[in-house]
Symmetry: D3
Subunit: 135 residues, 6 copies
């Protein structure tokens, strides 16, 4: 069993707020993250696939292929986008790192052609990140 | 002459577009950076002050003081903000890295208590950055 | 189950030595790390909390809150301090990375308001780090 | 149980190709990685040892000692070398990151003097890395 | 006057040696860098253009355009290549960082569509880099 | 003219204080940096040499040689040391980054065997650094 990871980046904006609550309640819960006009980040996404090495190729999965899977299913939908309004798979979700990450898992989990999705990590800033393993 | 640099970060959203032009023309010039609902970045700002070392303190400028000057004049106005709508000193400017950086220079140039402002650098992503020296 | 991590830094000095042993024996075991007048590091601490996402907020734990817990219980006691003499919770411990990290775990384990402490990591240099999961 | 990690780097060249296949088939599978004259990387290797802290020293393992074990058994054999031709323990292997990493595990697994080898990680580029735990 | 920088990476192999000298003399001068079968690096290239900001666009130069200029003139010719044998503009040069960098300058200096080439930097490892300004 | 840079690291402790002043006055000027028992950092030193490329070698200066010059004249005297008490060339200096850097310049300026010393940079933390060019 080996673990292969690909790192990708995307730049997006969001506003953290719960539309069921007032602006005042949102500010009390989310502080400056609920700024009505939004803010943004350079997100770093790490996708880890687990499986066995193919003896013929020496690869678990060709990283060029894994890159394409991540880009077409995730990065192209998130990069240079507003996460509150522009992304079909984030519709009706509060775009916290936790919710974005779990939604990315759903996008990727059935699309990995070799091995299986093991873990994904999302860095919102250099100091804050989240990890999810589908459990 | 010595050069002292402080690094600060802020997270903001923007849309690159010229309001005098149509959405189509903006897209032709700016591509995905002109997405109508915006996108965002973790910006890194480096502020360099030049001057001589004070023999009594061994400092050109106390970095805690430089940090406070940068935070109160720049970071608090940009962090978790929308650069198109929320920042007084960016009003009526296209918020490219170049324009943001020159506007930051104007905010800081007369506020450095020891030495003088020598250079400022702004990283928009890990691959793209701009520098300005007030010349 | 999701894993949320906050990264914090602190700058501290220490001398690695066992007070039950002579300076010669300490030098034989610890080499230059036992320099009698000490040396120091910029330590990086990563604190990972595990738990479930709250549907109302979209957070496992608000990272501003986790930051405050780490700063008040750990960083304020270690930053700009001498780890041999200035820190109550390191009293009578040889301040190796291993011992510092386990002592930090004890400081934090009952103070996490949402989810539970899962893992902590301490980087002493860019080449050396330790991890502990309370097991 | 604590986990201690040492990071080392080495610079090496390789050509990814299967000598049983033609150049055309290799190019179809490996693309530019099968360039006949090779290419290269600055590899980063992280070696993690797991075990208990020795009460007398405060160490699981002295990192100077772990560094020496990694350098003499692995780094000296790989640094500034061609991974297809110059390394005894890679003979007859396709030098993908997966195969290099598993071969490094075999070199190290019986040479750790305190604790036991838990995990090794190999970064081929800033975007691509693999991990192996001997399972 | 503003300075705009784009960072690109490429992975290549090389052998540092002077073909006019014997292997022994090469080893005496270049040490392990003259290993006959070569070694390699992940090179980081930073290209800085200087000029004035266009009032209509807010750009000195669109970084997507600068990226294309660097990739088509430099990166595509160096990435996943052997610098001793595969690169027309390095023919008959000893592929030290200094010589590679000056050759890259010659490739780029007349191809910058806005502003002019000001400085280029090449990182061979995280500890070694060179800069050239065409002077 | 080309610029060649070598990066080195060292770990040291210090206390920022002026022995002519009382502890209270030191605390008023230097805050937590004047903690009587000291604190410490992982310092990063970048040394840049300027000169012309030797046609025979393709080097301005062999980086292995520059590394040795920096290590023997600077790093061995600072690494794992207390900068207030253990370093001959810092005697009677307040060990601020500015003063440490200028003292390092004096150590190196006549020891560079090819080219001449152009600039040195010292990172005290990831957010604070100083540069000096001997002017």
């Amino acid at each position: 069993m080996i673990y292969v990871t690909r790192r990708e980046v995307f730049s997006a904006s969001h506003r953290i707020f719960n539309p069921k609550l007032s602006d005042e309640e949102n500010f009390r819960i989310y502080g400056k993250c609920s700024n009505p006009n939004g803010h943004g980040h350079n997100y770093i996404l790490e996708v880890t696939v687990a499986g066995e090495v193919d003896e013929n190729t020496g690869y678990l999965i060709d990283l060029k292929l894994l890159k394409e899977v991540i880009r077409s299913n995730v990065i192209e939908k998130l990069d240079h986008k507003n996460l509150n309004t522009d992304v079909d798979f984030l519709r009706n979700k509060i775009p916290t790192s936790e919710n974005i990450l779990i939604a990315i898992w759903e996008q990727l989990k059935d699309k990995i052609p070799f091995g299986k999705l093991y873990s994904i990590k999302l860095y919102e800033t250099e100091n804050n990140f989240v990890e999810y393993r589908g459990e």
